[in-house]
Homo-oligomer: 148 residues x 2
């Protein structure tokens, strides 16, 4: 393994992150295609954001995704048409729209998660990556940093 100087290290880490990220995304996208699921990765991300939102209203979901509410509306429009989400005005505050996942969406997300887990596991087995703990600690520091 080549020894990197601290300076080279800083420069190279981002390149590696970008590369790895793009590969994972591409593989997951291909997997959806292979399974005949007519959803793009960004649509899956919307479904995931709905699943993870404490209060799944438009503004919360958009914030989690880092897109405008307007963009989310168009995304939700097509997901609704395709039968992946429900939409209901909140009874308490009728300005809010509660977005929900249909059974169909939950099935896709479960399948997707299973594939993802399998992929990650097989990678780690193949690589015999010993440094999980350190890798995570470093990544978490980075992630926390960027959240501010």
């Amino acid at each position: 393994m080549k020894k990197y100087s601290r300076h080279e290290a800083r420069e190279i880490i981002n390149e590696l992150l970008v590369e790895i990220f793009n590969r994972i995304l591409a593989i997951e996208g291909q997997n959806l295609k292979d399974k005949g699921i007519k959803l793009s990765m960004s649509e899956v991300h919307v479904l995931e954001a709905i699943e993870l939102s404490e209060e799944p209203i438009m503004s919360n979901i958009a914030k989690r995704l880092g897109i405008t509410i307007g963009s989310l509306t168009t995304a939700i429009n097509t997901l609704y048409q395709k039968g992946y989400v429900s939409r209901d005005r909140d009874a308490e505050d009728r300005r809010k729209v509660m977005v929900g996942l249909t059974t169909k969406a939950i099935e896709v997300l479960d399948e997707h998660d299973a594939f993802h887990k399998e992929m990650i596991d097989s990678i780690f087995e193949d690589l015999e990556l010993e440094k999980d703990q350190l890798l995570i600690e470093s990544l978490e520091k980075l992630s926390t940093y960027f959240k501010k």
Copy 2:
């Protein structure tokens, strides 16, 4: 620092990668905007791919970017219009189109690199990340794995 089981570790690493990646991209995009540069991040990526290609012909650049040649053609069209790239048929093999960077493009890339380096450096200083070497080794293994 929370201690993760090996299994949790595998699941969480991807989430962190995604998060970090998106943040960096957003920050860099904002920086371009702030500087009044009328280029999207994907256009900058095209310029970077040109810079890094040994033989900067359409197919090589597209391959490096992971997009089709047709998609790259449209990207190069607008970059050419905006004055960031040159296009010349290869004299040896006239099927090939040699793509080059203009002075304008090189200036943008230099600025972008400087910003990126500064950002990464300041992050590492703030974090006092001790595990650069290990982090890189792990990421490189992942990256290499995904390249196959």
